[in-house]
Amino acid sequence: MDQRHDFPGYLACQSCDSMFDVSRLRDGDTASCSRCGGFLTRYVADQFVQVVAIAIAALVLLALGCSYPFMTLNLNGLESGMTLPQVALSLIAHRMPLLSISVAAFIIVIPAVVLILVIALAGAIALERHFDWLRPVGRLIFTLQSWSMVEVFFLGVLVSLVKISGIAMVEMGFAFWAYAVFSFLFLLAVTGLDRAQCWHQIEQLSQHE
């Protein structure tokens, strides 16, 4: 039985509670609420395979982004560099552990956890295998998702570049470029995993076990 063509039957709009029949979507269709314009669901035939591929690439880039120099400063011969984890860690040295934990969570930990879980969940769905951990993993993904600030951090990097360029020479490291591509891929992976379609597949897998 081909489960790819089974759709969630009805969905209620998250903003205005109107019910819609979303059982007849074609590949690439996006369904929106006709009452308030809210997003309902998007159907892409091989979305889970795509999401796994993008998420793996993003995770590799994040690992690279964490292990190479991010930026190097040069002030009349005095060098100073930083890596991505140092952005969070240096705050501990200034006795701001709470801020340090938040920054680390928003830009590294939450994105990394979400990616690992997305690879596991979307992978299991793509392979049509059922596991007991699918439900808790799904809950965690859709709870954590909104707490990543990857793209905000990236804009922050650009702003600090301008701030620093007045006082010292700045050189972008390999990790900067890795993180730039990572933030793009991360957004693709997270938006590619459609909530309604994803949970429908989890339900299907648990029923056909």
């Binding site: 039957g9 009805y10 969905l11 209620a12 998250q14 903003s15 205005c16 509670d17 109107s18 019910m19 819609f20 029949d21 059982s23 979507l25 074609r26 690439g28 269709d29 996006t30 369904a31 929106s32 006709s34 009452r35 308030c36 314009g37 809210g38 400063l73 002030l75 005095l78 100073s80 952005v87 969070a88 240096s90 705050l91 801020l99 938040s102 920054v103 928003f106 830009i107 439900r135 799904g138 809950r139 859709f142 709870t143 909104s146 600030m149 905000v152 804009l155 922050g156 702003v159 600090s160 301008v162 701030k163 620093i164 007045g166 006082i167 909530r195 309604a196 949970w199 989890i202 339900e203």
Partner: protein
């Protein structure tokens, strides 16, 4: 609560906020994902207001205390959020000054004002249609996290500029306060339930016009929604 459109609540259904499954209103846990089910977000107004009031209070120290402390050859300069913006204007980076000004002043203030207004609009009268206010809500939900830029900029400068004795940047207490403002107002926006605004809509206000259709967007609207067997109440 039925106003022309078939709402889930008018059919005795509740929507799981995590997995979007439609379940009977008397269910406690979603059968699909196991999350607690509420017809509307629990104590939405009270929670939202409590969080946004806390965020507003925190916004005061976030602006009065220094966000960044620079030590240059023994000379200590403390700068507040506004001070940083003015410094950037002095440096001639108007564009960056605007980015920071928007992220740290305009967005959080607008966000707090909009959330107060939305809470008030559910309780009292209303200006504008529910659709317009929903749009306002979505905008606020989307831009909220961008306020975090200034905190990230401080974290980056602290990590980079660290030549003790010569030039050093330390984070100020306002950085923590401001991060608190952003986090609290994000949770506040998440606690607000826009469906409360639609529940008040009189049937006459319901838009009968055909929705704007974009080529990639396909609306599948059946006027007579017949729930499947699993929804049938006793």
């Amino acid at each position: 609560m039925s106003n022309g459109f078939n709402t889930a609540s008018s059919r005795g259904l509740a929507c799981c906020h995590l997995c979007l499954k439609l379940v009977r209103q008397d269910s406690h846990l979603c059968p699909r994902c196991g999350t607690a089910v509420h017809q509307r977000k629990a104590n939405s107004l009270e929670r939202t207001l409590a969080l946004i009031v806390t965020a507003s209070l925190l916004y005061i120290p976030a602006n009065l205390l220094p966000i960044m402390i620079t030590t240059s050859l023994g000379e200590v300069t403390e700068s507040t959020i506004i001070g940083g913006v003015l410094l950037l204007v002095d440096m001639g980076s108007i564009a960056i000054a605007l980015v920071i000004f928007f992220a740290s002043v305009v967005i959080p203030l607008t966000k707090m004002a909009v959330i107060y207004y939305l809470c008030w609009s559910v309780k009292r009268g209303r200006l504008g249609t529910a659709r317009q206010r929903t749009l306002l809500y979505r905008m606020v939900e989307f831009i909220g996290k961008w306020s975090m830029i200034d905190v990230f900029v401080v974290a980056i400068l602290v990590a980079l500029i660290n030549w003790s004795g010569l030039l050093m940047v330390r984070p100020g207490p306002a950085a923590l306060a401001f991060a608190g403002v952003v986090i609290l107002s994000m949770i506040a926006a998440e606690s607000f339930d826009p469906r409360l605004m639609w529940d008040l809509e009189p049937p006459a206000e319901q838009p009968n016009k055909k929705p704007v259709e974009r080529p990639v967007v396909k609306f599948v609207v059946k006027p007579d929604v017949k729930p499947g067997q699993e929804f049938e109440s006793e």
